[in-house]
C-alpha cells in the first residue's frame, strides 16, 4: 500500500504543511524533509504528467523541490494553501520546460501539437491516490465535452489556449470561456476554496 498524501491539517497529526513552510523559510531542514514527504510525489506526478519523459521529469521535479526550499519565504498563507503553491510552481516549471524545448527545436508547430502526450485517461493510470482520482473523475464528468477537453489539454498537455483552439478547431474566444467556466464548474464540484 502506498503512502497517503496529506493535504490540509489531519487531526492530531503534527504541524500543518503551512506551519512547516514557515519553519522551512527559517532554514529548518527537518521541516523541509517533512514538506518533501507531503509534496514530492505530487510534484513529480504533475511534472511527469506534462513532460512524460521520466528522466527529464525527475530533473525538473528536483529543481521544483529545491526551489520550494529556496523560496519558502515567498510563500504567503493569505494566497492559498501550501500544496497549491507548490503544485502551481511544479506545473509552471513543467510548462516552461515543455515550451522552451519546443521553441529551441523550432519544430513544426502543428505536428508537435498532435504528437504530444496521451489523453488524460492514460495519464491517470499512474495515479496512486485513488480517492482523489475518483472524485476528480466524477467532477470531470459534470463538464461539457468541450470544457473537459479544453481544461485537460491545457493542464495535462501544457498547451496554450491558442494551441487548444487550433487543435480543436474552435474559435479562440470560445476556448477562453470554456477554460474559465470549465474550471469554475470543477471548483464548485470539488468544493475548492481559495
Amino acid at each position: 500500500m502506498k503512502e497517503a498524501v496529506r493535504i490540509g491539517p489531519a487531526p492530531g497529526a503534527g504541524p500543518s504543511l503551512e506551519e512547516l513552510m514557515a519553519d522551512v523559510a527559517k532554514g529548518d531542514k527537518e521541516a523541509f524533509a517533512s514538506v518533501y514527504d507531503a509534496v514530492a510525489g505530487s510534484v513529480l506526478g504533475v511534472v511527469r504528467g506534462v513532460l512524460r519523459d521520466r528522466a527529464q521529469s525527475e530533473e525538473v521535479a528536483q529543481e521544483v523541490l529545491v526551489e520550494v526550499w529556496g523560496n519558502a519565504a515567498r510563500y504567503r498563507t493569505d494566497r492559498g494553501t501550501a500544496i497549491n503553491w507548490v503544485l502551481t510552481l511544479a506545473h509552471r516549471r513543467a510548462i516552461d520546460r515543455v515550451r522552451s524545448v519546443e521553441a529551441a527545436a523550432a519544430r513544426d508547430h502543428r505536428a508537435a501539437l498532435l504528437a504530444r502526450t496521451p489523453e488524460f485517461d492514460e495519464v491517470t493510470e499512474e495515479v496512486e491516490t485513488r480517492l482523489e482520482r475518483e472524485q476528480l473523475r466524477r467532477c470531470l464528468r459534470t463538464l461539457t465535452e468541450l470544457q473537459r477537453q479544453s481544461v485537460s489539454l491545457a493542464y495535462y498537455r501544457g498547451l496554450t489556449y491558442s494551441e487548444v483552439a487550433e487543435l480543436l478547431s474552435v474559435p479562440l474566444g470560445t476556448i477562453k470561456t470554456r477554460l474559465r467556466d470549465g474550471l469554475i464548474r470543477l471548483r464548485d464540484c470539488l468544493g475548492v476554496g481559495a
Binding site: A40, G45, R99, S162
Partner: protein, 250 residues
C-alpha cells in the same frame, strides 16, 4: 484588450495556458482587479487538484538527492511582491550568474591568464544564450499570438515557405523547409516588400535547410516578403533577382 476580455482569461491564466505577452498583460490587470485575483486563486487551487490526482511515488534515492541539493542552496529573503509562482527570467539570470561566478572562482584559484579568457567566454556565451532565448521567445510569441495568420507557398526546387504574421505584435516569422543550400560564400537574405521597395529583414542560416526565422524589424506597411541570394553578410539592397516573393497573409 478590454477589461471584460481580460477577466475571462482567469481560467487560461490559472492553467498556465497564456502566451508570454498575454500573461504579462493579464498580470498587470490582475494587480488592479481584486475580483480577478480572488477568482485566479480559486481556479489555481482547482488546477492544483487536477495535479494532485497525478501523485506518484518518487523513485529510490530521489529524496536523498533533493536533500543533498538544498545543502548548497541559499534561501531567498521574504518577498515584498506577490510573486507566487515566480517567473522564468530571474531564474535564468540566476543560473547565468552562477556560471559567471564559476569563472570568477577559477580566477581566484590561480589559473592565471586563462581565467580572463574563461570569463570572456562565459560572458559571450551568456550573451549568445540570451540572444538565442530572446529570439525563440519572440518566435514563439508571434506563432502563439491570437491574431497570428499564416500563408504557405511552394518555392523553387521543392522547397516550401510559410510566413506567419501577427498584426498585434507587428512581427513576422518565416518557416522554411527543404531549402537548397545557397552557393558557397552566399546567404539567403530576407526582405520586407513595401510597394516594391525591399527593406532588409535579416539573414537565414546557410547551413540549415529547414529553419524558423524571426524577420528583423517591424512588419509596418510591408505587403509581402522576398528572399534573395546575397554575398555572405548580406546586402543593403538586393543584388540579385528574388528566388521567392510571397504576399503576407492579410
Amino acid at each position: 484588450m478590454t477589461a471584460v476580455d481580460l477577466h475571462t482569461l482567469t481560467g487560461a491564466y490559472a492553467l498556465h495556458a497564456l502566451g508570454p505577452a498575454e500573461q504579462a498583460e493579464f498580470e498587470r490587470h490582475l494587480a488592479a482587479c481584486e475580483a480577478c485575483a480572488q477568482e485566479v486563486r480559486e481556479l489555481s487551487a482547482t488546477a492544483a487538484r487536477l495535479g494532485l490526482a497525478l501523485t506518484v511515488v518518487p523513485p529510490d534515492g530521489f529524496k536523498e538527492s533533493v536533500l543533498r541539493r538544498i545543502d548548497s542552496v541559499r534561501q531567498a529573503p521574504p518577498s515584498t511582491s506577490s510573486d507566487a509562482a515566480g517567473a522564468g527570467a530571474p531564474r535564468r539570470a540566476r543560473r547565468v550568474q552562477r556560471w559567471v561566478l564559476a569563472a570568477c572562482v577559477a580566477a581566484v584559484a590561480g589559473l592565471g591568464a586563462t581565467t580572463v579568457w574563461q570569463y570572456v567566454e562565459a560572458r559571450d556565451a551568456r550573451q549568445e544564450a540570451r540572444r538565442a532565448q530572446e529570439a525563440t521567445d519572440q518566435v514563439a510569441d508571434v506563432l502563439a499570438a491570437p491574431d497570428a495568420k499564416a500563408r504557405t507557398a511552394r518555392l523553387a526546387g521543392g522547397a516550401s515557405g510559410t510566413v506567419v504574421v501577427s498584426e498585434s505584435r507587428d512581427r513576422a516569422v518565416f518557416v522554411a523547409a527543404s531549402m537548397a543550400e545557397p552557393p558557397s560564400g552566399k546567404v539567403y537574405q530576407l526582405w520586407f516588400d513595401e510597394d516594391g521597395t525591399m527593406r532588409p529583414a535579416g539573414l537565414m542560416d546557410p547551413h540549415r535547410t529547414a529553419q524558423t526565422v524571426l524577420l528583423e524589424g517591424a512588419v509596418g506597411d510591408a505587403s509581402g516578403m522576398g528572399i534573395t541570394v546575397e554575398p555572405a553578410g548580406g546586402s543593403a539592397h538586393p543584388t540579385s533577382a528574388p528566388v521567392a516573393l510571397m504576399r503576407l497573409p492579410a
